[in-house]
């Protein structure tokens, strides 16, 4: 139970950085992003539909990612999100913060970097 709660807390703070990391290399649409998060976190981090899109829109509002609608023949149109320059900077900062935080956590609580 303890670990579950720690993960929940971490999820809130980390959701944004995770999404930024997912779209860092390649533009992805919402479903792809949710699948990739599930995949990369081994299922420990999942978004509900609403929270995923709320986060996406929030990131887009801040100018950290940018959505682009793509229409292909015979397919439903989809919005592909890609990271912006501002987003890259934020991601870099957050990565550093997170590593420092995890390192500190490791020293104090004996948590090892995965």
């Amino acid at each position: 139970m303890q670990s579950r709660r720690a993960i929940d807390e971490a999820k809130k703070g980390s959701a944004e950085v995770v999404i930024l990391a997912i779209v860092e290399r390649e533009a992805q649409h919402g479903y792809q992003i949710s699948k990739l998060i599930e995949l990369r976190t081994g299922g420990s981090l999942t978004f509900t539909l609403a929270s995923l899109y709320a986060t996406l829109y929030r990131l887009e509002d801040r100018g950290w990612i940018k959505g682009r609608w793509v229409e292909k023949a015979g397919q439903r149109r989809r919005c592909y999100y890609r990271i912006t320059e501002a987003g890259r900077k934020v991601l870099a900062e957050q990565r550093e913060d997170w590593s420092r935080f995890v390192a500190a956590l490791g020293q104090v609580a004996g948590v090892k970097y995965a």
């Binding site: 919402g30 479903y31 539909l49 829109y57 940018k66 439903r76 919005c79």
Partner: protein
Amino acid sequence: MESQRNWKALVVRQAQATGAGDLPRHTIDELAAHLEDIYADALKAGRTEADAYRAAEAALLESAAALPTVPRPRTRRPDARPPQEIAAGGRITGIGGDLRFAWRQWKRSPSFAAVAILTLGLGAGAATAIFSIVDTVLLRPLPFREPDRLVTIWETNAEKGLPRERLSPVNFMDYRATQSAFSDAAAWWRPEINLAEPRLEPIRVSTIETSANLFDLLGVSTQLGPGFPQQGPFNSRDLIAVISDRLWRQRYSADPSVIGKPIEVNNGSYTIAGVMPPRFNFPDDVDLWLRLSWDYTLHSRGAHFTEAVARLQPGITVEQAARELEQVSARLAGQAPSTNGGWIARPIPLLDDMLGYYRPALIVLLAAVGLVLLTACLNVAGLLLARATARAREMAVRAALGASRARLVRQMLLESLLLAGAGTAAGAVAAIALLKGAIALLPASVPRLAQTTVDVRLLVFALAVVASTALVFGLVPALVTASARASEALKDSTRTSTGVRGHRISRVLVVAEVALACAVLVASALLVRSVTRMMNAPTGIIADGVVTATLQLENAKYPAWANVEQFYALMLEAVRRQPGIEAAGLSTAIVLQPGWRIPVAVDGRPAPRPEEAPIVQHVSVSSGYFETFRVRLLDGRLLQDSDTATAEPVIVVNETLAKRLFPGESTVGKRLISTAQQIGPLGRNLMFTSREVQSVPFRIVGVVSDVHQAPIGQAAEPVLYHSQRQFPFRAMTVVARGQDTATVVTGIRQALRGIDSAVALSNVRTMEERLITATAAPRLLTGVLVTFAVLTGLLAAIGVYGLLAWTVNERRRELAIRLALGAQPLAVARLVAVHGLALTAGGILLGLGGAQLAGGLLQDVLFQTRTTDVLAMSGAAALLIGAAVLACIAPARRAARVAPVEGMREC
């Protein structure tokens, strides 16, 4: 394609079910696509269609509660328009969308927006226009050197009820010598002057003959030519003149070589020594300044006809100068009691004096327009507050759906800004239009009025007041609402703290509005009373069909007084012969104009002490004068053509003189001893057969009813009327009566052409026009104030209506319960009406009190009217109550018609 619709429909249905309302299209698209992907993946993983559908549905249901948190207002494709939403940090973005929303809000209630914008615009516009006029006319220093040290000097005589008379030139020389008070003083008088030059039309020009130090004293130089010699003599036989810029341009085509050329005026040839700068108009609209050519000390102390301006010594106040002048006056009264008893000279700051009636009038206007602006602001504040409270529920719903407080406040801010912007634009337009109108309407005699332009600083100030009102009262409720607990507001908006607080503020606003409107209404009602009294003040004449015009004979052409008398006798005869003229006469002073005030003695009575000698106005009239104005003959006979210089010296007196000098006696047949041998260069009493004769007794042949020979408002004075043939003047006013005034004017012109076409006829006006002009300023002030009063009254009525309408809306539930429990609709209506009327009554009481406090300000512009005038106060109160009753009707009816069930349902 079928599944597409299904997924979208599912999302839309779910969004509505959870209260998220209409999601943006692209959000629906994205969510639908997401669900479709889940469904497709599930199918690929080998699940059944029904199973796959359930998986997608579950994903949606899982997050249904959070759907409203998905940011909403994007309606276009995100790549076409970058998403703009307010970030958690409060960055202001998305103004465009909010502005559009605000615009839609106002469009939804156009009457509310129109009333608010109109109110703000008119308030700010009127305030700016009046402030600008007051600033230019009242507050800006005069264009003279150290204008604060300039005073005018007038003589007053409390015993005779004369508050402001011109000076005797002899007295003036004594005042001027008071060097402890004045560094210098200049004096002038106003001769009637025609310009008659070869090859140019003879014209009448407004002229003063002034001591040579006038321009020095004011600190103003000519724009062309040397002007009067500096440090030159006070008066000189060397005749020189200075002309105005206007005369120079109009008559001499701005020819610079005019300097040094002669200018022919009726009493000689002057040399033009200078042209004054444009806009220089002192003492008023004068075109010709002649240097004084005679010695002031050689005149009479009893003849008051000079005006004076003096420069105070540095450091001397007006009060100190007044004390000095009082001492001089007292000394003169001791030395020459017959002429100077009771007379006191008073200095008045030049600007105050130039403004005269307009100063208190403008201050009253300023106060009134301030109240109008304030009422306008209160009104808009009340409207916004009511609206905000009405929207509390909307705000609460939006807050519950995830709109942040900053977001709501920003929305309200934008709505207020839009209103303020429109209001200020309307205000700027109104200011320019109203100022133009005011300048056109105000009499040209208001000094410096023409120079008034919309003062940008004042406009900015007024607009700032308006804008901040709109902002503050638009925003405060938003802040209050936003901070109130949303759930509370959702439960019942009428019970929230906002509602209660809003009501209390609104009530205060309405009471204040009514109070202000009441004050302005009382002020305008008082002025209406005052002006009515003024218009109805007895003049002693019947002005119907009478035309007046002034004539001036030139000294050179009519050097002998016998010629002058002859000219007028012939002229009168010719006028009477003209068709359409029923009666005609001449006078030196017609109604509202005072005659020459000179002491007289009663023949056969012991000579009174000089200071007790009665002062009597002397007027010279021709035969036919009284008949023309239909003045009643009370006893004896009127003056006749046969009362010539060779006949017996006779006079006619007015009723006041008869009552004062001969109470209980028969007046006709008595004799008054006159010492008025000559009135300066203006007129000569031919009955003084030689210079050595000191006094002549004149037999009273008739008594006429009083003609008011003084400005409106002053008491009746004793007047004696000489025969023009015995006491001729070069300048006379011709009066003639006929059915058609145009025919009369033509007749006078025709007659004059037959006798001497070189004589200019000026000031041709009907007597009615003259009387109307005499009350022009107070009537104008009244007109403007009444407009303001109607405006504020209307605003107050709107305020009362707004409050009641809102209250009824808010209290629907309570009213419905009352009705359901058996209350009579009439009783419910009465409940609402009483509420409105109670507020109005409170406001009226406050307003009446306020008007009394401002009474001092008003008293200066009132004529025989007290600020406690019951009729004015009750009239104002009645008007307001009437307006309030009208304002109550609709809300009261609505209250009575609340359907019990409908009201109950609302809870």
